[in-house]
């Protein structure tokens, strides 16, 4: 019974195995980035960037149809352009980063939808907006795994620099000439993961797997080094249970994965060990000293 429910779908169907591997790869690289997005108070920036990817992907689609390299390249370009433009606008104009990001992504979202409507059918639009986690081919899977590996390596290398820049950006800029570039590099990583997520979960859902497990993890631990793997684990678990549930019920896989992550988030809101409602409302007895 348990075997049939939780294991059989993945043993019997290759597309389920592929979906699981792809979603887990996304989780372990995207979720740690989400933790940093939250700490940098840029929770909504991920959302904005995911929309910003659309016009690039749409252009790639217009040029080459549903082609992985074309849509990836286009999405990457558009996402990076918006990230760089809004960071630059925030630094050199009177607008703050959130306002300039909002402005740039709204423009690019409108552009993206306009471009898709130029040629696309509704099916194509659905693919772009909600992805196709159950139809990952070899090339896409390798692409997801490569981005995950690259992201984790980059995080391992630049972990300290990123934490420093998140916490005390003024200091980061003073101690190292590289400090200036940390925010740009970080946003580039986020865009990379959003483009990866876009293939599996679509532009609208990709940011969900990045942010929801990260928000949950922050409610369970105050420790940054603990929050990163915890977020990845919550993301991977959500992917697994989401796929199981979607297989049973026939619901679209992408949204169900995000719903699972959402469920984990609501549980964390209530039971979270460091930030949950219960812990904050009913703290344990105070200590001696």
């Amino acid at each position: 019974m348990l075997h049939e429910l939780f294991i059989a779908p993945f043993v019997d169907y290759e597309f389920m195995r592929r979906a699981l591997v792809g979603a887990i790869a996304l989780s372990i690289s995207g979720c740690p980035l989400g933790v940093f997005l939250i700490l940098r108070r840029m929770s909504l920036a991920g959302d904005a960037l995911s929309h910003a990817i659309l016009p690039g992907a749409a252009l790639g689609y217009l040029a080459c149809g549903l082609s992985l390299p074309a849509m990836t390249f286009g999405g990457l370009l558009a996402g990076l352009a918006v990230a760089v433009a809004s960071s630059a606008a925030a630094r050199w104009t009177a607008l703050r980063e959130d306002a300039s990001l909002a402005a740039f992504y709204l423009v690019s979202l409108a552009l993206g939808v306009a471009l898709v409507s130029l040629k696309g059918s509704n099916v194509d639009l659905l693919h772009v907006l909600f992805g196709s986690v159950l139809a990952l081919d070899d090339a896409t899977l390798i692409f997801l795994a490569a981005i995950a590996s690259f992201t984790l390596s980059a995080l391992a290398l630049a972990y300290r620099a990123l934490a420093l820049d998140t916490f005390d950006p003024l200091f980061a800029r003073r101690v190292s000439p590289l400090g200036e570039w940390i925010p740009f590099a970080f946003l580039a990583l986020v865009v990379l993961n959003l483009v990866a997520g876009f293939h599996a979960l679509g532009t609208l859902m990709a940011v969900g797997i990045i942010m929801l497990p990260a928000a949950s993890a922050r409610l369970w631990t105050r420790d940054l080094t603990g929050a990163l793997p915890l977020a990845a684990a919550i993301g991977a678990a959500s992917s697994y249970f989401g796929l199981v549930l979607s297989f049973r019920t026939g619901l679209a896989a992408g949204p169900v994965i995000i719903l699972m992550a959402g469920g984990a988030y609501f549980l964390s809101l209530i039971f979270g060990k460091t930030g949950g409602v219960i812990r904050l409302r009913r703290p344990k007895r105070h200590l001696e000293g």
Partner: protein, 252 residues
């Protein structure tokens, strides 16, 4: 001008054409202890920001003799740090070492020893594992001083280091400033506590958007000069015309 000095040449500082500090000239010699005093809105923090290289002058220029901007440690008013960030005291103080090891380098045995002695110097041994969010205001200020100790810079800028801090902590931190002075470092501090300025800093700059007096602390903070500074007009004139004074950088 000796090596390590900072020279202000007819410097005007401000935001959006509105000057906060008007036409100031002078030299901070290497190893000087300079207190910057004056009423709120006098431009003290603005001056410190400019010295740290974070603000480009509207007019004039700041000349660093044999100093790179990275040689200058700067302690902003503590409100600018995110106290909710999950980082403990040891990691925070270790950040000071990054000036030497870079963003990616290893914290070796020498740096560890330096960090431990900095924590000891500010009286925070045993606090290594505490998250900075759990510290009191005075403890946080001690942690910030420990980071400055680890940074080991020839020039140290302090913006109101003693705001809302008890007498014992102030005493301990003043000792650290005295130690820096003995080691020949330049210390420039924005201070509201005039007694402290007289006690710990031989020189003072009394600022009220324009320099009132720059020189020996006793003289700078005399009754007459303080009275003059208190007449500063804080509001700016909406109809202000362009300043016609000479803008060419020249030595004091």
């Amino acid at each position: 001008m000796s090596a390590g000095a900072i020279r202000l040449e007819n410097v005007t500082l401000g935001y959006e054409r509105r000057p906060a500090v008007h036409h100031i000239s002078g030299v901070v010699e290497a190893g000087a202890g300079l207190a910057v005093c004056g009423p709120n809105g006098a431009g003290k923090s603005t001056l410190l920001k400019a010295l740290a290289g974070l603000l480009t002058p509207l007019g004039g220029r700041i000349v660093y003799d044999g100093l790179a901007l990275r040689d200058i440690a700067y302690l902003p008013q503590s409100a600018e740090i995110d106290h909710a960030f999950p980082i403990d005291v040891l990691d925070f103080v270790s950040m000071g070492a990054m000036r030497r090891i870079g963003l990616f380098g290893r914290v070796g045995a020498a740096e560890r020893a330096r960090i431990a002695s900095a924590l000891a110097a500010v009286g925070l041994e045993g606090f290594e594992d505490r998250a900075i969010g759990t510290l009191s205001g005075g403890q946080m200020q001690r942690v910030l001083f420990a980071r400055l100790l680890v940074e080991d810079c020839p020039v140290i800028l302090l913006d109101e280091p003693f705001g809302a801090i008890d007498a014992r902590t102030i005493d301990d931190l003043v000792k650290i400033i005295a130690r820096w002075r003995e080691e020949g470092r330049t210390v420039i501090a924005v201070l509201h506590e005039l007694d402290l300025a007289r006690r710990a800093f031989p020189q003072a700059l009394l600022l009220a958007r324009e320099p009132i007096f720059w020189g020996a602390t006793r003289e700078a903070l005399s009754e007459a000069h303080l009275a003059q500074a208190s007449h500063m007009v804080e509001a700016y004139d909406r109809e202000a015309e362009e300043c016609r004074r000479d803008e060419t950088p020249h030595a004091a």
